[in-house]
Amino acid sequence: MAKSKPTRLTNSIRALRFARGEMTQAQLAERIGVTRQTVIAIEQGRYSPSLEMAFQIAHVFKVPLDEVFQYPDGEGDT
């Protein structure tokens, strides 16, 4: 049985990195001031970044936030 991830948040960081001249995880980590392991955890959906960090990542790729992070429709609606 597949192990459920701790967050429903998905992201396109890996694709964006490759679209930006194959930026490495270490380079992205340095740009946003975290460790490479944190970038790996975000990419793999094991860690939800703060809103501020999410914006920092979006700024690095020069795209809107929702091009980097996605949340499934209908989840969390009240």
Partner: protein, 139 residues
């Protein structure tokens, strides 16, 4: 593996080993004499001190063998640390409450000290285990 995660592994191992050594020595004495006569204080202090020294040495050795990209923690390390401390705090509370109850019931110092010490060890071990699970699986 990040610098902080390696440090958590080292802390888990040294805490568990130090307590195992302490229990083995004290239990060896307790089998030969009444617990009121067991000289547990120097053993406790020495094993606790040795675990601090071993932790420092082991962390240096681990970093020498497998250097980390950076020795600075980040926001995720801090969140995981807080999560682990929060999740395991009940062991300290339980140890202190048990120690208080035992003191009021006039138990021997040996048992009071050891139940409090056990609370600290469980807090360290459980906290480290929770942190490592958070590093591997997420929070």
């Amino acid at each position: 593996m990040s610098y902080e995660e390696k440090g958590t592994w080292v802390y888990l191992v040294t805490s568990a080993v130090a307590y195992a050594v302490y229990v083995a020595i004290v239990l060896g004495q307790a089998l030969r004499m009444p617990v009121a006569h067991v000289s547990y204080v120097p053993v406790l202090l020495w094993t606790a001190g040795a675990s601090i020294v071993a932790s420092t040495v082991l962390r240096t050795l681990v970093e020498t063998a497998a250097p980390s990209d950076s020795r600075r923690g980040d926001v995720r390390d801090k969140e995981i640390s807080r999560f682990g401390e929060h999740a395991s705090r009940w062991f300290v509370v339980a140890g202190a409450a048990a120690g208080l109850a035992m003191a009021m019931a006039r138990w021997d110092y040996f048992w009071i000290a050891n139940v409090i010490y056990l609370g600290f060890v469980l807090w360290a071990v459980a906290g480290s285990a929770v942190k490592l699970a958070a590093y591997r699986r997420g929070m």
